[in-house]
Subunit: 429 residues, 2 copies
């Protein structure tokens, strides 16, 4: 390829800077010696001082002009956000038959179906390796390889901020607030951490992986989301007593033609592969009927890893490879029912605070057994509230809707101090 491949970059934050540094170091490393040229870089403030290895950056503040510039073949969207300028830029670029690379999981999770359809129609690429699990090449692995193996389950740790916080809490280094504030100081958490700690970021990512793995349309609203902000340090202590650790898992699986998509804290066995993924690391595990289990582990964020993934998306375009953005044609995606969390069954960890006197446990047991919930293990400990005891249960597998009804009954018992807390147990990992 001797023709110049013109690149337009929108956004020069962490990812943009990482990508530019990578581009600078590319030189003779490319597969076909492509002649890549950065035509324009759109930024909010042109005057801001930047520490970058390229002199005289071709800056512009007119972001949408990238979509209209005839010398730009590839638009790299690194602005973020599911609406507004990012959405308009990507849509207009694809409409104008430009390849698009984006690191924007929110955009893809909310508008991926529409955008993929335009890309497909115009036979251009829409690549988003950096949007999921940073430097782990999981989009390509699933989109181009593993999806042919009848995937049963795809799950993992997709948010480094949460995994960092949970690891520190597990090591007894502070409660949620302390650890979050420490993570913010160290740059592992944003100043507004809502998207991370409430599980929304991980939900964006598992929604996309689910689409690739199960050939279903992207459906963010079908993903159940629960974050980590309500986990108590004592939950880690009890988890450990039962042989578990607590992880925020993102899970998608297909059972009897229904697909489930969910993000929530889980008890996972201490000996499981996923339990060993610590600190800010990400990991994705793909289970299928052919290979068995493939695990991918690496850094999920940062300038280097995400910049590298943007680069690998660019190299795919340089090589002339155009894949269906969502693995298969958007028109071939299956109309499928997404499973509601209430219909799923788990074993549960349940923590109840009740009066420390005879008969309370009997009432709790009765409420559970009425809904067919049997108890596997039980611990009763005096609570720090006087006259109250903490009752910790591990249940056998039961439907979530039944558990919720039973816990609602238990809450109404006069002897019980507050709503019971529960955490799902992923015992099969």
């Amino acid at each position: 390829m001797s023709k110049v491949l013109g690149i337009g970059i929108a956004g020069l934050g962490t990812v943009g800077t990482g990508f530019l540094k990578q581009l600078k170091g590319l030189k003779a490393k490319s597969t076909r010696s492509a002649n890549i040229k950065v035509i324009k870089i759109a930024v909010k403030s042109i005057k801001k001082k930047r520490d970058l290895p390229i002199k005289q950056l071709p800056l512009t503040s007119n972001t949408l002009s990238l979509a209209e510039d005839d010398s730009i073949d590839v638009v790299v969207e690194l602005i973020g956000g599911s609406k507004g300028i990012a959405y308009n830029l990507v849509k207009r670029s694809l409409k104008n038959k430009k390849h698009v690379i984006t690191a924007n999981k929110a955009l893809m999770a909310m508008h991926g179906n529409e955008l993929a359809k335009i890309a497909e129609k115009n036979n251009v690429s829409l690549n988003y390796e950096a949007a999921i699990a940073g430097g782990i090449p999981i989009v390509k692995a699933v989109r181009e390889n593993l999806r042919f193996n009848k995937i049963k389950k795809i799950y993992g740790i997709l948010n480094g901020t949460c995994n960092y916080i949970l690891t520190k809490m597990d090591r007894n280094l502070g409660d949620f607030k302390d650890v979050l504030s420490d993570a913010q100081k160290k740059g592992f958490a944003e100043l507004d951490p809502t998207f991370d700690i409430e599980g929304i970021d991980a939900a964006h990512k598992i929604t996309l992986l689910s689409c690739l793995a199960f050939d279903v349309p992207i459906s963010f609203s079908s993903t159940y989301i629960e974050g980590i902000s309500k986990i108590d340090t004592k939950d880690f202590k009890y988890a450990s007593e039962f042989g578990y650790v607590i992880k925020l898992l993102a899970v998608s699986s297909k059972v009897s033609n229904k697909v489930e998509q969910r993000v929530h804290p889980c008890f996972v066995k201490q000996a499981s592969d996923i339990a060993k993924v610590e600190n800010e690391l990400n990991a994705v595990i793909v289970e299928d009927n052919v290979i068995g289990k493939n695990m991918f582990q690496g850094p999920g964020a940062g300038a280097g890893p995400t910049g590298a993934s943007v680069m690998s998306d660019l190299m795919e375009i340089v090589r002339g490879t155009i894949n269906f953005p969502l693995g298969s044609s958007i028109d071939a995606k299956k109309k499928i029912t997404f499973q509601k969390i209430e219909n799923l069954s788990f074993p549960y960890y349940v923590r109840i605070v009740g009066q420390d006197r005879a008969g309370v446990m009997a009432k709790i047991s009765r409420a559970l057994s009425k809904k067919g919930i049997s108890i596997k293990s039980i611990i009763q400990k005096p609570s720090n509230k006087t006259k109250y005891a903490e009752i910790i249960l591990i249940t056998h597998k039961v439907k979530e809707s039944s558990l919720k009804v039973a816990l609602n009954q238990i809450k109404r018992l006069p002897e019980v101090a507050a709503s019971a807390k529960f955490i799902r147990i992923e015992d099969s990992l």
Copy 2:
């Protein structure tokens, strides 16, 4: 693509059977709905009974005819062996402008440069995902993505048989012979296990990964190879006392413009990621300056995993993607010096049997210190041979050539019973 893509398969062993089952289940799963047709299957014996889901297999005993058949677009070589029929078939097929998929690491390690050159000249694919780490998509990950990140080191557990044996020995389930014979019964080791246990199979694979990671030609003769057959159960016991486990690692790295390629048993820290890869699992870790560390873990062998990798190679051809077989053009590969193991430095575990009396340790220490080798830890235990003691040393980092000279001196001491044994320590993992 509405044109029929004709497939010729050579070999119907484990991989061939796995691949055929996958093809059968493919149907609408392919990215572009390709019309794939199996034209011919070459086997040794046409009359052999086979349990396969396809009736009336188009069998032939004329393997080389696949290379000449105009209706065959893709030849899938699943015979094995670096010479003879496999080599001739692949070479002739590429010369006749057919795409080739092979699971043959020996062939690629010995003749990959020549074969890649033909493929490149004729603009056809030479894909070999199944040749390395079974179902882990590591060839594509390195060849198409990670190599742009200035890889520093690529290493892993590339032989499931050895990892299975070492795991069992570590758990004290028998000595090498017992565990090997158990592995053979369970199908985790071949009847002639030489290629596996002597490290040759892992060496084929790391040689190929090194070529992809560092843009050097394939050079199998530059790979240092040492197997696991001489490891004693007591080495595991001592490893554990020092906080290590023993793994057969395949390692390639680039340091000051020299590339090292080596396969040998290693002490690795119990807490390291690689130590946690157990039984017949494979794992590859890629370290670079941009992403940091990416780990891929999965099954390294078996009909399903290898068949799935052959299938993903085929899907790449269906999508019309033709990559340089070795990542970059064979003419662009760097002439580089490969580092000899003697010039590398490690900390070492050393086990010496010497007379159990005063002065012996002093003599051993003197021989070591003369070559600048300092001792980090030492254990002395009575040996089962009367009057002899076993001296276990962990050295600080030292050049291998120096260690060998020192151990040669120590061997000649009258108080020392036999050659010292040593195992390299990979402390940086």
